[in-house]
């Protein structure tokens, strides 16, 4: 009974942490939460004794090897959890399995589009050349678009131009 109660208690804490993480956004794409991005792999709360604070262990996967947002996101996580009263927080990076846009939530993809960034199309394993994809303009919806560069404001995006509304836009590459 006691054990079951503790178990439930832990789950509540973990749930609370997931809710806190939901509020942390990607500093470069502020409409996306880190949950939308799919970079949080697991959250574990351990409580060994009543005398020691809960140990929080968060495993995350960076989007790109050199994603400059990682340090910022880590700081945001630490601040958010510290404010919420957690004192013993460990962030662990895991590279395997490698992050993929397949982990991005559907609501995340919708938010991206509203923000003006075309969301990744298809599955990462299909590995279709960008030039062969028809990317719809997030501004006007036209598919009369043209690839300008495979790399844009960040490594995870490609730069397109819409031939209908003539606006440039970013496409979040399948990865």
């Amino acid at each position: 009974m006691q054990h079951g109660k503790t178990e439930k208690c832990m789950n509540d804490l973990e749930k609370k942490i997931w809710q806190l993480l939901e509020k942390i956004t990607d500093p470069e794409i502020p409409v996306l939460s880190i949950i939308d991005l799919g970079i949080i792999r697991s959250v574990k709360v351990n409580h060994t004794s009543t005398d020691t604070p809960h140990e929080v262990l968060i495993w995350y996967t960076p989007t790109y090897s050199a994603c400059p947002a990682v340090d910022m996101i880590n700081t945001d996580i630490l601040v958010s959890l510290t404010v919420a009263g957690f004192t013993n927080i460990r962030l662990e990076q895991t590279l395997f399995p490698a992050w993929t846009t397949d982990w991005m939530s559907e609501s995340g993809k919708e938010k991206l589009k509203k923000y003006g960034i075309a969301a990744p199309i298809g599955k990462s394993c299909e590995n279709i050349a960008l030039a062969d994809l028809k990317i719809a303009c997030p501004q006007c919806g036209s598919i009369q678009t043209i690839l300008v560069s495979e790399f844009s404001s960040t490594a995870c995006k490609a730069l397109y131009k819409c031939n209908t509304c003539l606006e440039p836009f970013d496409y979040f590459k399948c990865h």
Partner: protein, 256 residues
Amino acid sequence: MMTTQEIENPLIKFLLHLGDNALIMGHRNSEWCGHGPILEQDIALTNIALDQIGQARNFYQYAAKLILESSGEQLTEDSLAYLRDSWDFKNCLLVELPNGHWGRTVLKQLIVSAYQFCVYQELEKNADKQLAAIASKSLKEITYHFRWSSEWVIRLGDGTSESTQKMKDALDAIWPYTNEWTNFSDYELNILGDSHLTIRENFEEKLGAVLSEAGLTAPTIAFSQDGGKKGNHTEHLGYILAEMQFLQRAYPNAAW
């Protein structure tokens, strides 16, 4: 001054080799920042530089962990990048060669990306979990680098008479540095085993296909330059390190 010369462990040597290739290539690419022919391509090459430096960090972090476990020596990704001298670096010579013009830069990038693609493709299956994880992560990024550089080499090789000539000259100049990639050292063979044959075959095929589409023919010279994997470098590496390492050496432990 620290050195990694005495390290015998083939995995650590291989990690340093992979990390050094990525770091020095990334540093060379970064020299184009603000100098690209047009803004979009300037950004593209800078993004590739960032990917390379990120990959180097992953290899160095893992190497530092293994060095700590095997010898107790406290090293970090930063000390491996900033405090070793040129004879400690195990990168292939091609990455340290000066960029030259845009055509030569994209040709260098093509050769490096083709090789990195083929080696990571095999390392992804390696029994060492962390090495496989870094390779698998890097492979996704390299796929874009390879495609980007292929498109440029094809566009310029199969372009105007002037661009074709410049690409031919560039290929003549850097071709002697191509063989070194698949002229495997003992520590590479130790980790790669028989897969080194697959890597060599895939590399030649991947590179050959792009050159052929670009209308370029690889020179048939027998002469090949190597030594980088053992720490014997061209004079260019010293200049790169002097610039890259200056701050850490003049102001030890300075932090951003």
